[in-house]
């Protein structure tokens, strides 16, 4: 009888993968098992939750758009230009990834608090800056714009990182050739570099969106959690659980899981790649 050969090499690597994905599936399955269908339906029909969901989708979309608009030129500059202090700027962007997001929220709040302090100054420029900061504070603090501001600071570094690595991987020679073929530097950027980087930009946008979509701490610090005004899905979950409405909180969690899964799947279908560049396994 022929002995069956056990392939130990792939099994060794597959076990951690199976454990990891199994654990993720278990915690989602626990949510699904815990909550009743009636809880999900009543949650989805709640006016507060509908407002919260729409606000989450709208703010995260606006944040993603602003993040990409800022991240593309920033990433290009960091990738292509050599200038003194580039390493400092690069580190500053990484700092936003490394520090706890609550620190970002607190720092934004403190920055606008500076407006009050500067406004009392006798030095005219400081006084004017103080007034401007205070005016901006009125625009952002405990307002919907504050949600976008908090999301932006926490999302944009991820977009910059991914898009910069895309530009790093692209040879500047393609742009050089475009210039010798009649393009200005602007045309070479828009006709060659930008289209070549489109997958990286798309991946950066999805990462920025994912970060903005699930953000909680800095939003509650900068914009508060006012029902029907500045409440996003993540704050809704916190609020529901804090008042003992566990079922509603779990139903909201499942809603967020569903939306996030749909967006990630859409990205993979459209780009044919995973968020971090690897090809999708079929």
């Amino acid at each position: 009888m022929q002995r069956m050969k056990i392939k130990s090499f792939p099994i060794f690597f597959s076990i951690p993968l199976a454990l990891l994905t199994g654990a993720i599936a278990c915690i989602i399955a626990a949510d699904v098992a815990y909550v009743h269908r009636s809880d999900i339906i009543s949650t989805l029909l709640s006016k507060d939750i509908i407002t919260s969901m729409l606000l989450t989708l709208a703010t995260s979309a606006v944040t993603t758009l602003i993040s990409v608009i800022i991240a593309v030129p920033s990433a290009y500059a960091l990738s292509r230009f050599k200038f003194p202090g580039a390493i400092v700027l690069d580190t500053l962007i990484d700092l936003l990834i490394v520090v706890p997001v609550l620190v970002v929220g607190v720092s934004i709040l403190v920055f606008f608090r500076m407006g009050f302090l500067l406004e009392t100054s006798r030095f005219l420029p400081a006084l004017l800056i103080g007034k401007a900061i205070q005016w901006l504070g009125d625009v952002f603090i405990y307002q919907r714009a504050g949600i976008v501001l908090a999301q932006f600071f926490c999302s944009v570094p991820f977009a910059v990182r991914v898009i910069k690595s895309t530009f790093d991987d692209m040879s500047p020679r393609t742009e050089h050739v475009a210039q010798t073929l009649g393009c200005t530097k602007w045309q070479a950027f828009f006709r060659v570099s930008l289209p070549l980087a489109r997958q990286g930009i798309f991946a950066g946008a999805v990462l920025a969106w994912a970060r903005a979509f699930g953000l909680f701490g800095p939003i509650s610090i900068v914009a508060g959690a006012v029902r029907q005004k500045t409440e996003v899905l993540s704050t809704s979950i916190f609020l529901e659980i804090s008042i003992g409405q566990l079922e509603t909180g779990i139903a909201l969690s499942l809603l967020m899981v569903a939306i996030a899964s749909a967006i990630l799947l859409l990205f993979r279908v459209v780009s044919g790649k995973t968020l971090f560049g690897g090809a999708v396994q079929t």
């Binding site: 040879s171 020679r173 393609t174 050089h176 050739v177 475009a178 210039q179 010798t180 073929l181 009649g182 393009c183 200005t184 045309q187 006709r191 060659v192 289209p195 070549l196 489109r198």
Partner: protein
Amino acid sequence: MIEIKNLRHRAGEFKLAIDLTIAESEYFVLLGKTGCGKTLLLECLSGLRACDRGSSIAINGLDITNAEPRERSVGYVPQEGALFTHLNVRENIAFALRVAHVYKNKIDKEVNRFAELLGITHLLKREVKGLSGGERQRVALARALVRKPSVLLLDEPVSALDEGTRDAVCRELLTMQREMKIPVIHVCHSFDEAAILADRVGIMREGAIVQRGILDELFDRPVDAYVAKMMRLDNIFTGGLSASGNLAVNGMEFFTKPMNGSRTFIVNPRLVRIAKNGDPPFPAGESNVMRGTVREMRRRGPITGIVVEGPIALTLYAAPDEVDELSIGKGAKLTVAFPSRAIHMLKE
């Protein structure tokens, strides 16, 4: 015609200093080792790097020293082609014409013409990602040529290709250049490419051209050991002085004396002969004779390079008929001789 006068460019510690004139319809091959400044020179000529003050570049009498790359009428093909992977082959070739807002009918006509010239008509609908190395280079060439540049700059266009493809692309390059009648500067580090393509060759070292001329001139009379090595000459020796004041290596005396203090010289392998029946083939008193053993035989196209090991290892070229006639093989004992004019002194 390209006139490069006093071209200077500094990149960190590296300095580029070039004076060069290339005639209309001339195929000029610039040979040099990696890091000698070949690519830097092409980038200066194409306007991708600014030249230092005092530099001058003129194409057909028009000064383009400070012109933008797009204003220079220079076709530039970098290493590996740098094709635009978001466009297909047709779109790549049409790129320059689209940027110039040429009518679609004319674009199609020109793209088809250059695709035909380079034998890539069947690739026009293909994506760039699936192309082989040779196909990529042909597409890159067509893309550069469709703009009808006044000069073509090629940065190691065939160095990444296998031998068969390389020779085929080289033949196409020559056909294209003869048809379009434009000057070409082709930089590479392969002697074979220069041998196939060049009207004239320049040897570049540390940012400067150390010698230029037709290939035979450089082969027969290299100025120094670097040029000799670029010409794939093996017979480079540094000698001591014999009792009679002649140069000597490992006890073998050569009928030549040191020149300007230099004791380094080459022995031209084309002038080294096998002495049949032991008789030196050159007049007595002029013949440098060596007896040795065949160590190595290398077939180089229609000739065979034979390395004979005696007091020195001497390479000579022989026709296949001669090799067969004398039944030469590895380990065979041979007497070889060369006249004094085969010895060429090098600068140290």
